[in-house]
């Protein structure tokens, strides 16, 4: 399913918010790309800029925001420079979004069939009957039982999980190329969460869409994403494949996130947490924004922002610890275990790959 073709490229995006207290630098030079058919997870604490990033992709930035630099390339066009009209044609057709809270994101006074059919009528100029028929199909696809009877119900007649399925149906009805899921399971019960995640995976295979999955919960990421970008204070601090981030993390912030996540091995011990709070983006600190909370901080962290250091072709991290002159530090025990596991995986993989190459050579 995956290919190397970039469907979306975000380059050096900078977004500021003008508030009474001054300019909040919410996004400070963020770059990433999304490949066709893949799922990219963007992970970070609240306030790290995940949601602002997605809103800028949808062209739905708040009135007091200002794009201070960068571009977002989609099919050779810069979304940030599109007219309202072009954005309207984009939204809900090629790029769709699922919101966090299904309890409030449906229109309480419109029948759900109509709400699901609306994007079809808007974008394809479809007549109501035909659109409703497709909406019914989509309702079945997202697993709404008794779809025929329920198509004329109102949102309040559904449970939270069912409502999120409806929101997903709305997003997918036009088979978008990109689906942005902004914390789609945060507001749901854990069991329902799993159902919704399963549904998203299943549908991604069926309609081959690329997903940008925003979450603060690394646990959700493992089973969902192909690649992961970790955001902190308006920047991406580390990105790589899901295995690289989970088993070979390099940035101390990623270490902190992973250590604070419960695993099967944690029993009864207290989970470590990252001390302190994210910096105030009204006046971001010089150097590495994470330095103040970083147990491994170096002197240079307060002076100069770390550039991205390459770990592998797909894995980069912005921390001075990767500089050749930096002292060797020992990550937390849990991370060491993960890295050992990763080394083993790499070895297995290398051997397999070796076999494949040999076989190819033979042919």
């Amino acid at each position: 399913m995956e290919s190397n073709e970039n469907i979306l490229e975000v380059n050096h995006l900078k977004i500021n918010f003008n508030t009474y207290a001054g300019t909040v630098k919410a996004i400070r030079d963020v770059s990433f790309n999304l490949k066709k058919g893949e799922t990219l997870a963007i992970v970070g604490e609240s306030g790290s800029g995940k949601t602002v990033t997605t809103r800028s992709i949808m062209g739905l930035l708040a009135a007091n925001s200002e794009v201070a630099g960068g571009d977002i390339q989609f099919h050779g066009k810069d979304i940030l420079k599109m007219s309202q009209k072009e954005l309207e044609q984009l939204r809900g057709a090629q790029i769709a979004q699922i919101f966090q809270d299904p309890m409030t994101s449906l229109d309480p006074t419109m029948r759900i069939g109509r709400q699901i059919a609306e994007p079809l009528m808007v974008h394809k100029g479809m007549k109501k009957d035909k659109a409703m028929a497709q909406a019914l199909e989509m309702m079945k696809l997202v697993g709404i039982t008794d779809a025929e009877q329920r198509i004329n119900d109102y949102p309040h007649q559904f449970s939270g999980g069912m409502r999120q399925r409806i929101v997903i149906a709305i997003a997918l009805i036009n088979y978008p190329e990109i689906l942005i899921a902004d914390e789609p399971t945060t507001a749901l019960d854990v069991t329902i969460q799993a159902q919704i995640l399963d549904l998203m995976r299943e549908l991604q295979n069926k309609i081959s869409t690329s997903i940008i999955f925003i979450t603060h919960d690394l646990g959700v990421v493992a089973g969902m994403a192909d690649r992961v970008a970790v955001m902190y204070a308006g920047k991406i601090v580390e990105y790589g494949t899901v295995d690289e981030i989970f088993y070979n993390p390099k940035h101390p912030y990623t270490w902190g996130l992973l250590s604070s996540m419960p695993t099967l091995d944690t029993n009864g011990e207290e989970l470590p947490s990252i001390p302190g709070t994210p910096p105030d983006l009204l006046d971001p600190p010089a150097g590495d924004a994470f330095a103040a909370r970083n147990a491994y901080a170096l002197k240079i962290d307060t002076e100069q922002e770390p550039p991205f250091f390459k770990v592998s072709d797909t894995h980069y991290a912005a921390t001075w610890l990767l500089h050749p002159d930096a002292p060797k530090v020992t990550p937390p025990e849990q991370i060491l275990e993960r890295q050992e596991q990763f080394a083993k995986m790499q070895k297995d993989l290398a051997q397999q790959g070796h076999h494949v190459e040999e076989e190819e050579e033979k042919q």
């Binding site: 949808m58 229109d107 006074t109 994007p119 808007v122």
Partner: protein
């Protein structure tokens, strides 16, 4: 639904009964009889008149007779016009009041909705400021001041419309405008607040994410959701109009119950005051009942909770 209706009507009758009781005993506390407006009379004559009004019986008997009478549409005899039953006085005067009230409600609410919605859509622009100023003026300038100004400048100076009196549509225009100003302003403010809230809601965000145009979002999602709650302010607006009618009808010499009410107050015509109080309360209660039912019908969320009960 039927159960709900029966319950509501029961409460309505109970409230009406309390209103009748309270007004009756309040009036009994007051000094003054039909004799206040008469010249000196001999004690025998006085007794005769009091007997004619049923005022010689003990108070509790008077009360029972009154309550029984009210439920038969009999409100007693006016002190002021001693040959007229109060019920006749009211039934002959309710027409103009209802007509003016209905016209003022329409003239207030519909433009109010438009202006309020416009203010919310164009929030923080000059359009918003203008509509806000207009609605603040509408709320702040007392209706009777507006009425006098309209009467003088449009009626007298410009001579476009009749100054006062009753007799055809032209006579209703100025009083209607004076009565509608405040409901108009109330509605505009209400709708603006309501719509600003709705426009900030998640489902509007989702509607935008669907690719609806700005006006598509407003027409299909924002308008309906902010219009439904307007029903809840119809009751207070009706009160507003009733209040206004007392003095507006007076200024424009409209033969309505508002004008009658003020006259009765100034002449201590207690039977009429009581009757008008009861009629006003009944009208308000009916309006409140109807709006509650309508609200239940047009808001899907409430509709369901009612049937499930």
């Amino acid at each position: 639904m039927a159960k709900y209706l029966i319950k509501r009507i029961f409460y309505l009758l109970l409230t009406l009964f309390i209103v009748i009781t309270v007004t009756f005993f309040m009036m009994k506390l007051l000094p003054g009889t039909p004799l206040t407006n008469q010249q000196k009379l001999s004690p025998a004559q006085q007794h005769l008149i009091l007997k004619q009004y049923g005022l010689t019986k003990p108070v509790w008997q008077q009360y029972l007779i009154y309550v029984a009478g009210v439920f038969h549409g009999n409100f007693g005899t006016s002190f002021q016009f001693s040959d007229q039953p109060v019920s006749y006085l009211i039934s002959s005067r309710i027409g103009p009041s209802l007509l003016l009230g209905a016209q003022a409600m329409i003239l207030g609410v519909i433009p109010g909705i438009l202006v309020g919605a416009l203010g919310a859509i164009k929030k923080n622009t000059w359009v918003d400021s203008t509509t806000t100023i207009v609605s603040i003026l509408g709320i702040s300038i007392p209706s009777f001041v507006l009425a006098v100004l309209l009467q003088y400048y449009i009626g007298l100076k410009l001579g476009w419309l009749p100054i006062a009196d009753w007799g055809g549509f032209a006579y209703t225009i100025l009083p209607t405008i004076a009565l509608a100003a405040s409901p108009f302003a109330d509605t505009a403010r209400f709708i603006r607040t309501e719509m600003v809230d709705v426009l900030n809601s998640d489902y509007i965000e989702l509607a935008k994410a669907k690719g609806l145009s700005k006006w598509g979002v407003i027409y299909h999602h924002a308008l309906r959701n902010s219009l439904i709650p307007v029903v809840t302010i119809i009751g207070p607006l009706a009160v507003n109009i009733m209040t206004g009618s007392m003095v507006i009808e007076n200024i424009f010499s409209v033969p309505g119950i508002g004008e009658q009410f003020v006259k009765s107050i100034l002449t201590n015509d207690y039977p009429t005051i009581m009757a008008v109080t009861i009629v006003y309360s009944l009208m308000l209660m009916v309006v409140l009942l109807i709006t509650d039912i309508v609200y239940g019908i047009i808001d899907p969320r409430i509709r369901i909770t009612n049937t499930s009960k």
